[in-house]
Amino acid sequence: MASTISNLQRHRPPATSQPKVTQDPVWVRWLLTTIALLFVAFFLVLPLASVFAEAFRRGINAYFAAFNDPDALSAIRLTLLAAVVSVPANLVFGVAAAWAITKFSFPGKSLLITLIDLPFAVSPVIAGLIYVLVFGLQGWFGSWLSDHDIKIIFATPGIILATTFVTFPFVAREIIPLMQAQGTDEEYAAITLGASGWQTFWRVTLPNIKWGLFYGIILCNARAMGEFGAVSVVSGHIRGETNTIPLHVEILYNEYNFVGAFAMASLLAVLAIITLVLKSFIEWKFQQGRAEA
């Protein structure tokens, strides 16, 4: 959705370049701008600022002390691990799916397109529950798994699975429209020039989609690190073992350890800011690429 809005912005000329007759009266423009800015200030900027304010309330030492806790470190490690596994998995899946959807026609293609969107449509809590039902002790594979001493639910594999599920659409969604717009002529040209499928992918397709791909990856990563609902269901909240950063924030907050909770939350806030900066940079690059084309 966010990308749809920014797509619109990319193609619209700035309002100032419009002829006067097509512009709204001054008061309308001011009113709309003020409403938008106030909304952003109250609902986005203020909470973000308060995260940092709360985190540093007892001073910088208390802030860093919050990270000097084995449970916190374990939560950070687990979050990174979940992202490191799920983002590449979704990258491979996303590129493969986008390639299949845009370059071939096969039965079940529209079903695949619909299914890619499933994680967006379904509540993350349901997503977590699905895995509990399938892999949990009372689930379909539960007895088989416990016989073989494999733990998925209330353990790291479950967290990785849930994270992968909710971040599933990001990469594919971002590059499918891009690859559809670019068509197949360049690939065909490469093939008639004697390139193999692999060479065509690395030398022609990938350079054409690289910015879209980066965009998908950073959004995917932001969601992977920030996911709460699905992970919460499969985690079991075992301290130092199955808590990710968002889960740890909740635990600390419920224990009235505000500095600790907000210090951990500030990590996610910084991640969000980095994501936004990267996102703007990539959009800018994207626009340049488009202007050239």
Partner: protein, 351 residues
């Protein structure tokens, strides 16, 4: 390198794009595949290139007597140029042209020096010297199309296939570039097929024109043959203006009609505007009476619209400006029309 396609059929779902099409392209010729959109011409070209597969078990493609029906596009040795250039946007002109050489297996790959030499040579050939560092986005449409051509030629293809090569260009550039292509073809003598829907383009530069309609080949011949002696009503109407006259009896009273019986099947007479002679209406003179309705005088020839008195059909005649001046007719004057002897098919003209 000759190209022979025999019995090619291609269906997309319920739509038949090609219906048992045969095509023979003699070595070294420049052949145009001409037809309206949806006639199957691009599909045929793509099947020849190997970018599309003909329906299973339907016919074969031969390059110089060798069956290539099951050879992949990359191994057929074709140079393919796309309507929208399909240049690699992220590569410079030089890198685009070198692409086909760089993707070769290591053993067959020329050294970077050799590649650079070859690129320079090709840039010169397509008259784009000095543009090697540019990106495709910095070139005009005509330049891009020539880069695409140079890129296709870099791998020394045995045949050159062009899909609507001038389709995306504006009228002036299009004309210049097609003349350039003709000269270029005379220089390199590579068997070439190009697809076009522009009859003027096909008639101007091709050695041979293959006219396609509704998944079939309608006629094959030199530009003059297909223009002067169309074998079907479709070809007659597709190549240039034509009057379709219903009243054969009235016209045959003005002089002999010869159409070798080819068009008589539908009981209609197909006459080009320049094969109708216009004379002043004089009592007792021979001719089909018509009313002068309109004249388009912009151009070297004058195209005049006339309404036949008896059938109320509109007929167009093309006469020179001098002839029009000599006629000294005003709008709504009555004139007489006759078929010029030149419209007839010569009997000794065997196809």
């Amino acid at each position: 390198m000759s190209i022979i396609a025999t019995g090619i059929t291609k269906t997309f779902g319920a739509f038949k794009a090609l219906n048992a099409v045969d095509l023979v392209v003699p070595s070294g010729k420049l052949v145009a595949l001409l037809g309206p959109s949806g006639s199957g011409k691009t599909t045929l070209l793509r099947i020849i290139a190997g970018l599309e597969q003909a329906d299973a078990g339907s016919g074969r493609i031969e390059f110089h007597g060798e069956d290539v029906s099951n050879t992949t596009a990359g191994k057929r040795g074709v140079g393919f140029v796309f309507q929208h250039y399909a240049l690699f946007k992220h590569m410079t002109v030089a890198d685009n042209i070198a692409f086909g050489l760089r993707v070769r297996p290591r053993a067959e790959r020329p050294s970077e020096n050799k590649i650079a030499e070859r690129v320079a040579e090709l840039l010169k050939l397509v008259q784009l010297d000095g543009l090697d560092r540019r990106f495709p986005s910095q070139l005009s449409g005509g330049q891009r199309q020539r880069v695409a051509l140079a890129r296709a030629l870099a791998v020394e293809p045995k045949v050159l296939l062009l899909d609507e090569p001038f389709g995306a260009l504006d009228a002036k550039v299009r004309k210049d570039l097609r003349r350039w292509l003709r000269q270029f073809h005379d220089e390199i003598q590579l068997t070439t097929i190009f697809v076009t829907h522009d009859q003027e383009e096909a008639l101007e530069i091709a050695d041979e024109v293959v006219i396609m309609n509704q998944a079939k080949v309608e006629q094959v011949g030199s530009p003059q043959e297909v223009y002067d002696r169309p074998s079907t009503p479709f070809v007659y109407q597709f190549l240039g203006n034509v009057n379709v006259l219903r009243d054969i009896a009235a016209w045959s009273a003005t002089g002999p009609i010869h159409d070798n019986g080819r068009l008589a099947a539908d009981g209609l007479l197909y006459v080009r505007p320049h094969d109708i002679a216009v004379t002043r209406h004089e009592p007792g003179a021979l001719g089909v009476p018509a009313v002068f309705r309109h004249a388009h005088t912009a151009g070297s020839q004058t195209l005049i619209s006339l309404e036949l008195l008896h059938t109320r059909e509109t007929v167009e005649a093309e006469i020179s400006r001098t002839e029009l001046a000599e006629l000294a007719i005003k709008l709504n004057d009555l004139v007489l029309l006759r078929l010029r002897p030149s419209h007839t098919f010569q009997h000794d003209y065997a196809i």
